[in-house]
């Protein structure tokens, strides 16, 4: 066990260098063979592609996501690969732009001949790439893209989401919001597709629980100073519910605090606002925020498992190497790590050998049960057959002393929403 840990420590910088300077996984491995490479002899590697925003506005998430992917792949290779074959990773940067992402995906599919894809961060880029998976009949495990439509109106036979989405979070969160925090809510949301659909999901669920959404404030994406928008917020209600992420989320939380609004009202929202990578920039201004998230970098129950400890330690060590400020892993690290492992399970179950076996792989992934453990430190999850959407345990948390503390764990069967997808 400790030997394995050591290998991981040594291997990490090598892989990182590959990422930095290596053209593709295939070329890079020839230049710098990883320590475990010899164990596989002539076995042909599985090639897994990953599209991530490594530059541009979404770079933060893309880089932490990639850490999860590399961690999972290193671990798989260390433990003997999949079906005795090693896994090669091919990474492409989409610059946070859909045209570049689309081109990069085409390259991975036609040039690098990837066998499957795990990744995708920004929803618009995930959507732009959907036709590629369909045209080339490749399995696509989404790593981060949160847009509801990916597994509802725009669902696709080849695409799987092994983590939660907003409607399920709303179902999980609404009872607490209405029951414990207050009946009347005002929603502040990032005014674009994801924010709008998430706002609608929460409005529906809050009202279902007997609460009321008395108003909403949209904030244009990329607004550095949100004060003109949020200083309108006034009136008789109990809580503010925020839907935002990344820098926009940080600006929002900072400025809500600055204007005293988080003191005046209960303050809750999507966990993306208080994501671990956002916390350093929020300081004490996020104290008392109640959020929902599938994963938190803590070791409190129910996350007090050896599997999570291992995941957390290694991810933290790896993240330190990409960012000198030493962030903790976020849900993007976790979901990408688990997406690779879900794919591994599917490959093992189906005996998938290459692209032509994709139909078998899809059949194996549909309805896949994932059990809490080293592969899935977040917990059990089920990948639903009807819409390829996973359901999993949600964590309600509050930020205290700059750290998330778990208030309640919502079991996965309390997050269910009916499927709304029909595969073409």
């Amino acid at each position: 066990m400790s030997d394995v840990e050591n290998v991981a420590e040594n291997a990490a910088p090598t892989r990182r260098r590959l990422l930095g300077w290596g053209a593709s996984g295939a070329v890079a491995t020839m230049l710098l063979p990883a320590p475990w490479r010899a164990a596989f002899g002539d076995a042909k590697p599985y090639k897994i592609g990953s599209l991530q925003p490594l530059t541009g506005v979404a770079a933060v998430g893309g880089k932490t996501a990639l850490v999860g992917i590399q961690m999972a792949i290193d671990r798989i290779n260390k433990l003997g690969g999949i079906n005795g074959r090693p896994v090669d990773l091919i990474v492409a940067d989409d610059q946070s732009k859909p045209d570049i992402g689309r081109r990069a995906v085409e390259k991975m599919v036609t040039e690098d001949n990837i066998d499957a894809h795990v990744g995708g961060f920004l929803s618009n880029i995930c959507l732009a790439c959907m036709p590629v998976w369909e045209d080339h009949q490749l399995a696509n495990m989404i790593g981060v893209c949160l847009d509801t439509t990916l597994t509802t109106t725009k669902c696709n036979r080849y695409t799987f989401r092994t983590f939660d989405f907003a409607p399920a979070q709303a179902v999980a969160f609404a009872p607490y919001l209405v029951g414990k925090l207050g009946k009347k809510w005002h929603i502040i949301y990032a005014d674009y597709a994801w924010g709008q659909s998430t706002r609608d999901a929460y409005t529906r669920e809050i009202e279902k629980q007997g609460g009321q959404v008395v108003g909403s404030t949209g904030i244009p994406l990329g607004t550095a100073d949100t004060t003109p928008f949020i200083s309108k917020i006034n009136g008789d209600f109990d809580g503010l519910f925020g839907i935002s992420f990344g820098t926009d989320g940080t600006s929002l939380a900072n400025q809500l605090y600055d204007l005293g609004l988080t003191k005046k009202y209960k303050w809750a929202g999507d966990g993306a606002i208080a994501e671990s990578t956002n916390l350093p920039a929020l300081g004490n201004k996020i104290e008392g925020f109640v959020g929902i998230n599938r994963y938190l970098p803590v070791l409190d129950p129910p996350l007090d498992t050896p599997a999570n400890r291992k995941f957390l330690d290694e991810a933290t060590a790896r993240l330190k190497k990409i960012d000198p400020s030493g962030p903790l892993p976020d849900r993007y690290t976790q979901s990408n790590y688990e997406a690779i492992n879900a794919l591994k399970l599917g490959i093992e179950k189906s005996g998938f050998q290459g692209r032509e076996d994709t139909p078998k792989l899809i059949a194996a992934l549909e309805g896949l049960e994932m059990k809490e453990g080293d592969d899935f430190p977040q917990g059990d999850k089920t990948l639903r057959k009807e819409d390829h959407q996973a359901f999993l345990r949600e964590l309600l948390f509050v930020i205290k002393n700059g750290k998330p503390h778990i208030l309640e764990a919502v079991p996965k069967d309390k997050t269910l929403v009916p499927p709304a997808c029909s595969f073409a």
Partner: protein, 290 residues
């Protein structure tokens, strides 16, 4: 819904505060444009790098004010370096080439910051944490302080331009670069200085604005378009005009967000810009100042 007087007053305060920050960022840009015909597309990146210098200084020395100063100096030096290496060869060519070169620079600087500082956003703690009551809001003093500091810095710049020898040289160079040279003014040095001052202003604004949001490699992007609008509405190269325009546009957007859907409030400033260009292409406040 009826708009209360309270809300209008609050938005007035917001508009003025946001406007002053905007004015500070814009002042550097308009100075650079007015004097050297350089449309500096990398201005937002200088703003961002200034914030990072602030983060680093704050971590090392613990003083916000020292951070502000060191960001100003460091980014001014960087500005001088950029000018000498990249922009001086373009002097006298179509201003278009300066847009393109600075666009390339912004790519370099943004990705350099990502590489050097990592992707995770950093924080600059505000030096003043008190609040006062503004109707139904707790309003942070720091915002008022930023507006005042921004005002003071712009005033200092104005005094410098108005009374100092360098100020006269700079203004003479703005109006007629060739004649300035013939009058013995060291124009190349003046231009490098102006670029350095403009950059330094951007760097300082980054530190001042930092506490309101987060510091990351992409933070300059949110500014660049709005700052350009301000510079044009104010009359390119017209310092006083940009300040008035910055406050004017911020107020307008703040009021607009009371009525129309917020995302469309920005269209209001676009419309102002286009009307300005159509009817007073030299800037809305051209005759009043300069």
């Amino acid at each position: 819904m009826a708009i209360s007087l309270q809300q209008i007053l609050i938005q007035t305060v917001n508009g003025v505060v946001t406007g002053m920050i905007l004015a500070l960022v814009a002042s550097g840009l308009t100075l650079i444009f007015g004097i050297m015909d350089i449309v500096n597309f990398a201005h937002g990146e200088l703003f961002m790098l200034g914030a990072y210098v602030g983060v680093l200084t704050l971590a090392a020395a613990g003083s916000f004010w020292l951070a502000l100063l060191s960001a100003m100096v460091a980014i001014a030096l960087l500005g001088a370096l950029i000018y000498v290496t990249t922009l001086r060869p373009l002097l006298g060519r179509d201003p278009l080439t300066t847009i393109l070169a600075t666009f390339g620079l912004s790519l370099i600087l943004q990705n350099y910051a990502l590489w050097q500082f990592g992707p995770v956003a950093r924080k600059i703690a505000e030096p003043i944490s008190g609040h006062f009551t503004l109707f139904y809001l707790d309003y942070p003093w720091y915002r008022v302080v930023i507006a005042l500091i921004a005002g003071a810095m712009i005033f200092a710049l104005w005094m410098f331009l108005k009374f100092g020898t360098w100020g006269i040289w700079i203004r003479a160079t703005t109006q007629d670069r060739v004649m300035a040279q013939a009058m013995g003014i060291p124009v190349p040095l003046v231009l490098a200085t102006v670029f350095a001052i403009g950059s330094g202003m951007a760097g300082a604004s980054g530190v001042l604005f930092g506490p309101l949001t987060a510091v990351d490699h992409a933070m300059g992007l949110d500014w660049i378009l709005k700052v350009f609008i301000v510079v044009v509405v104010g009359g390119m190269g017209n310092l006083a005009g940009s300040i008035v325009a910055a406050i004017f546009i911020s107020l307008l957007e703040a009021y607009a967000s009371l009525w129309v859907s917020p995302a469309q409030a920005v269209i209001v400033s676009f419309v102002v810009l286009i009307l300005t260009l159509l009817f007073r292409p030299t800037g809305l406040f051209a005759t009043a100042t300069r």
